[in-house]
């Protein structure tokens, strides 16, 4: 929309409808298949509606009424419609399309003010090709039209629209009605300074101000602010309060991790913790002091040394609450945001890989089990997958790693983690800002989208969230971000700027506030390019509109820098200057709307003191599984089909994992590329064979029972996954991403303390530093008085290196006759295991790596692998040994025969009548274990390399072919206890939800 457009009063979209615009609807020709329509048809059937005869989907465009009809016809036939595929329908202003008998029309359109990148693109092209109407602007808006043949009531169609076609938070729906909103979005808010009466406010009033303003500030914090302004004898402006709220938000400040905690452990031990982050995660990094860590915990991403003068940068973010409200937009802007973190790391890292992990409710959940105000897990998962796909693919960044976890605890509050790895030359690893540097905003325009995202993410969701937080939803435009990326590296390599950060949570207030922290900044909001008129000064300042970066440009480079962006049609604007005043001054048309002391803004946050207490759940320890079920084949097939283990191919294929041409080990491997790889390997430099390895580890089941063991075991999992493809465990960096419940509650915070302690212990034992991390707390969902917390979820992401990609190893079996080995010790650790879950049992001892022996074992294994002694490798995790060998067998289209008597176990249990010793061996999820395939001529060298560690030869790769089987001999007498054709294994693994 042109920024000069006049706007009516705030909150009211201009009441113009279809009668005022040209309308073009583009449907496929009747004889052409409409795959998208077929998809919608199936979704209606899945919803339980009668099967429609046919569903067709049209793309709709509204155009300015002052166009000549011949011009509209030309636009429709030569631009909007494909001559071979489509048949456009044109309706003049005032005309209304009519549905034929037995057909319903459902129209879906973005709400006024919601980003519509398609409309912007069409608008721009029409202007660039000289198709401008007398009215002066093309005025393009877009919508979707569903033509549904079948007999439906309006209620049924409303249900279908609400659950399949549209998201009411951001879209307008019309059922058998043709009036569409058309015109300028939103109303006008006053610009300039507004004052908030704070000095004489009571505590009650202080809290009221915080709640009404969506500031998410506590009473203690409000009092500190009041104190600060009393000392100055003046009232704060609304803009100042907003800036403080953004800067002090949990999202930006991590107050829980950096505050005081009075902790009581499961055995009654107590401790006062002064800054959990500094005493656990960051402490490990500091004490390890690895020389290949270049920049950790200080920048937008962690930076580690790579090769030939290049470093790698990595960051993983959460975007949980926005994804709950709008899965597609939330996930898309999640990946968009973390990519910008990389663009703002050092002087900018070029993104080379994405990693994503999702945690959602069960896809087979009964609709009536769904908490009020939430979306079905199927819809959430499809939405987040599509969001990551459309943003990541359009950015040209391969999505190479990730995971999906299903648990009822995520139904109301799904988790979306998005991460990016980038590469940058060492000389670009650091940044600075100097007084006098111009503050330059580049990229997208600022609008009313994403107001209060930072403060919104710091409170719990509720059934009203989708109503009250629509403004917090952002719709991304990856192409704008790609343009920024393209120009940014030109400017970087010419040395035109010396500081950079992304505009994320808190918008300019956070970006400029952070960059100017050590010096000062003076900003003129009137210079900020807007999507449309009518924003208040405060809104311009805190808007989280996407695809914007802020640069610090030396005055002598300003013209050259702006020219670089202009050359590729990217907007770049000077919006202020960094100063030496120590103050953050915000003006609008010269008048000051905020004046804040940088020290108070950044250091004035009162540190909260919270209580933490964790008690063990009162559950019996089943120890070794009882001898209940000896149909191990059936158990194995059930495990392979378990949603957490089953194939994620339907998701992985939708991500481009080949773009940039660097991927060496892809997410899917094996003969038919249907084996789940342990980790991704890529070769970032053309002139070096050194590779980067990305893996992850997570297991929320463990956290319920023992948060500290969970942390240790998922760090072990991330590392053994990396080692499985050939990574050097001594060049591995890890990232911690905590998604937790409300940490005002002592049990949640107690679990967080224990998990953090586990992080410290494991990082120290493996010598693996944390280089970056992020926490998302308050993942709870409130219905009335009740709150539902998510399972405590710690995602560990690992970025490691492999000395030579030609030595990378995949998990598929390679050749009959090769030996199969297991490394690591199998224990009766069934707590949180999928085998117990299958039997409906809970409790038990959570797998925990032996921190004394595990690091050396991984090192020794890597030594064998880098010498080329291992032909395939796969880690043991969910489902244990049986699942691992099964996956290796079907991926390699080869059989396997193993003997459970050979497996190294802590306690034999073979003669224990209360213990199913075979189930123990087949399904335990003990840590630090892998299955390795070794060719006969490498057996001796392999065994020599592993000498002194727990390992054993457990079997052999057997013949290929249609009747290849996975056979296991039991621990008692060596009789066959499991015998399943590999094709049955493959089928079970592929039997899950397919999207």
């Amino acid at each position: 929309m042109p920024p000069t457009a006049e706007a009516p009063a705030h909150g009211e979209a201009q009441k113009l409808t279809q009668s005022s615009a040209w309308r073009v609807e583009v449907f496929r020709r009747p004889e052409r298949q409409d795959p998208e329509g077929d998809h919608a048809l199936h979704a209606m059937v899945e919803l339980g509606l009668r099967r429609p005869t046919r569903v067709r989907i049209g793309r709709g465009y509204l155009l300015d009424p002052s166009y000549e009809s011949a011009t509209v016809a030309d636009i429709a036939t030569s631009f909007l419609a494909d001559p071979v595929i489509d048949a456009p329908r044109i309706h003049a202003p005032g005309e209304v399309p009519s549905a034929t008998d037995g057909m319903h029309r459902v129209l879906v359109m973005a709400q006024p003010g919601v980003m519509d990148p398609v409309a912007q693109t069409v608008d721009r092209l029409l202007q660039n090709t000289g198709r401008v109407p007398d009215g002066g602007a093309p005025g393009v808006a877009t919508f979707r039209a569903y033509e549904i043949e079948g007999d439906y009531t309006t209620d049924e169609l409303e249900s279908a629209a609400a659950r399949i076609f549209a998201n009411a938070t951001i879209e307008v729906v019309r059922i058998d009605r043709e009036d569409l909103p058309y015109g300028t979005p939103f109303g006008a808010s006053p610009r300039g300074r507004t004052e908030v009466a704070l000095l004489d406010a009571t505590d009650e009033r202080l809290l009221e101000i915080s709640v009404q303003g969506q500031l998410s500030l506590t009473l203690t914090e409000m009092r500190a602010i009041q104190e600060h302004y009393r000392a100055q004898s003046r009232e704060p402006s609304a803009c100042e309060l907003e800036t403080i709220a953004q800067t002090w938000s949990e999202h930006c400040k991590h107050k829980t991790f950096t505050g005081f905690i009075d902790f009581e452990g499961p055995d009654g031990e107590t401790e006062e913790i002064d800054n959990l982050l500094k005493t656990t995660v960051a402490r490990a990094t500091h004490e390890l002091d690895r020389d290949w860590c270049v920049s950790v915990f200080v920048d937008n991403a962690g930076i580690v040394e790579f090769d030939q003068g290049f470093d790698l940068a990595i960051k993983v973010e959460t975007h949980n609450h926005p994804s709950a409200i709008d899965p597609y937009g939330g996930a898309g802007t999640g990946i968009g945001g973390v990519i910008r973190d990389l663009l703002g790391a050092g002087l900018g890292a070029r993104p080379i890989a994405n990693t994503d992990a999702f945690f959602v409710g069960p896809t087979d959940l009964d609709a009536d089990q769904l908490p009020k105000g939430t979306m079905h897990p199927r819809r959430i998962l499809r939405g987040v997958v599509a969001g990551v796909r459309d943003y990541g693919n359009r950015m040209g960044i391969p999505t190479l790693n990730g995971g999906v976890w299903f648990d009822p605890g995520y139904t109301a509050n799904p988790l979306v983690y998005a991460g990016t790895v980038g590469i940058l030359p060492r000389e670009c690893a650091f940044k600075e800002v100097r007084p006098g540097d111009a503050i330059v905003s580049v990229g997208g325009r600022t609008g009313r989208d994403g107001i209060h995202g930072a403060t919104f993410s710091s409170i719990e969701l509720s059934e009203e969230s989708e109503m009250v937080s629509s403004a917090a939803v952002q719709i991304g435009d990856p192409i704008t971000e790609k343009r920024v990326l393209d120009c940014l590296f030109v400017a970087r390599d010419r040395g035109l700027y010396r500081g950079i950060t992304d505009c994320g949570a808190g918008g300019f207030s956070s970006a400029v506030g952070e960059m100017g922290e050590e010096c000062g900044a003076d900003v003129e909001l009137a210079n900020v390019p807007l999507k449309y008129a009518g924003l208040s000064s405060d809104e311009v300042w805190i808007s989280e509109a996407q695809e914007r970066m802020v640069l610090a440009v030396p005055p002598e480079n300003v013209d050259a820098c702006l020219a670089v962006f202009a050359a590729e049609d990217v907007e770049a604007t000077v919006i202020g200057t960094f100063t030496d005043t120590g103050k953050l001054i915000v003006r609008d048309e010269g008048k000051i709307v905020a004046e804040l002391d940088m020290r108070f803004l950044h250091d004035g946050t009162p540190r909260p003191r919270r209580r933490a207490k964790w008690t063990r759940p009162n559950l019996p320890d089943p120890g070794c599984p009882a001898p209940a079920n000896d149909d191990y084949g059936a158990a194995l097939l059930a495990l392979l089909g378990h949603p957490n283990i089953a194939s994620k191919e339907w998701i992985l294929r939708q991500y481009d994992h080949e773009v940039q041409g660097m991927s060496v080990v892809k997410p899917l491997v094996g003969v038919r590329a249907d084996g789940p790889g342990d980790a991704a390997v890529l070769k970032p430099l053309e002139t070096s064979r050194k590779g980067a390895v990305i893996s992850c580890g997570v297991n929320p089941n463990f956290g319920e029972l023992d948060p500290k063991a969970m942390a240790e075991s998922v760090i072990d999992e991330a590392l053994r996954n990396a080692v499985a493809v050939g990574a050097d465990p001594d060049h591995a960096a890890i990232l911690d991403n905590f998604s937790w419940g409300n940490c005002d509650k002592p049990d949640r915070l107690g679990a967080l303390v224990l998990a953090s302690k586990g992080c410290y212990d494991a990082a120290m034992a493996y010598g693996t530093p944390f280089v970056s991390g992020k926490d998302s707390l308050n993942n709870e969902y409130r219905i009335g008085d009740q709150t539902l917390s998510i399972p405590s979820t710690l995602l560990i992401t690992c970025l490691a290196t492999i000395p030579d990609v030609a030595r990378a190893v995949t998990m598929d079996l390679k050749r009959a006759g090769n030996a199969l080995y297991v490394v690591g010790m199998t224990r009766a650790e069934f707590g949180g295991s999928h085998y117990l879950a299958l039997q409906g049992l809970d409790g038990g001892r959570v797998p925990r790596p032996d921190l004394e022996t595990a690091p050396a074992l991984l090192r020794a294994l890597h030594g064998a692998m880098r010498e080329g002694h291992v032909t395939s490798a796969h880690d043991l995790s969910e489902g244990g040994l049986a699942v691992t060998v099964a996956e290796m067998a079907f991926a390699g289209e080869l059989g396997a025969e193993i003997d459970l008597r050979e497996l190294p176990t802590e306690t034999d249990h073979a003669t224990d009548a209360n213990c199913d010793a075979d189930a123990l061996r087949l399904f335990s999820e003990s840590c630090t274990r892998l299955v390795l395939e070794v060719a006969p001529d490498h057996v001796e060298a392999f065994e020599r390399a592993l000498a002194g560690h727990h390992f054993a030869r457990i079997g052999t790769v057997t013949e290929a072919g249609a009747d290849a089987r996975f056979v296991a001999r039991g621990s008692q007498t060596g009789e066959i206890v499991l015998d399943v054709p590999i094709e049955a294994l493959r089928a079970a693994h592929g039997s899950g939800f397919q999207g």
Binding site: R32, Q33, P35, E36, H39, R59, S78, F79, L80, D82, P83, V84, I85, P117, V118, T121, V122, L125, N128, T129, R389, N393, R394, G396, P425, I479, K482, R483, D486, D493, A567, E568, D569, Q654, Y655, D656, H657, E658, V659, Q660, G661, S663, V664, V665, K666, V669, G670, V671, A673, K683, L685, E686, T687, V805, A806, A808, T810, D812, K814, S872
Partner: protein, 280 residues
Amino acid sequence: MTMKEGQAGTTDSGVRGVVLRSAGTNCDGELKRAFEAAGASTDLLHLNAIAKDPKRLEDYSILSIAGGFSYGDYVAAGRVFGLELRHRLDEALHAFIERGGVVLGVCNGFQILIELGLLQDPGLAPDERSIALTDNASDRFECRWVTLRSEDSVCPWVRAGDLTPVPIAHAEGRFAVRDRDALDELYAKRQVALTYVDPAHPNTGRDDDVPYPFNPNGSTANIAGICDPTGRVLGLMPHPERNLTPWNHPQWTRMGTREEGEGLPFFRRMVAVATSTLVS
């Protein structure tokens, strides 16, 4: 990026290439790498830079349009970039081809060539086009490796009978024709250059139904790439530029030692054709 480009052991053919890019192009890096590995020194140029000075095209013998999501592929894949090129560079592009230059469009580049009308007889208006690329039959973006068979076509750098493993990564790659006559015409003019096959049964014909996922998108006659009637302009959906090294292939850990990826010879032959008709 300051990463070093080029590959040891490459001999410079003296041919110069240009990879055209615009907002949303994202396979320009690997395409440039492919041409350089094949011996053609190659520049990356933004559309704005060429449109400002169309004579710059005269410096080059190979023009390629890289994959990606130009302008987000909003409206339809390649539509906006295609129209923008028609509007700003139409004459220069035709002059380039008449001068003997060769043109390659990969993935989004193929979609753009179709929108541009460069794969059919010159002079057709946008609404007279009889070939199209549309939504995959699966209605999904898909990334997977396929096997391409090179057909007996007029394209001089496509060697009939070759089977080449290459990845696809697209949402709108289903080749479609207006009617049977349009398809017959493509065969009559020997414009069908590349088709999808099942590597276990590679001798399928135009009327054989190569099943999913071997034909990954439901393309008519399993067509993956076509050339113009002169053979000097080729468009294809798959990405040979993503199979240059011995480690790109998804099953390389199951193969013996290989010196290079199977996509590289395609570029070498194209550079050789450009060399033999080098415009001075």
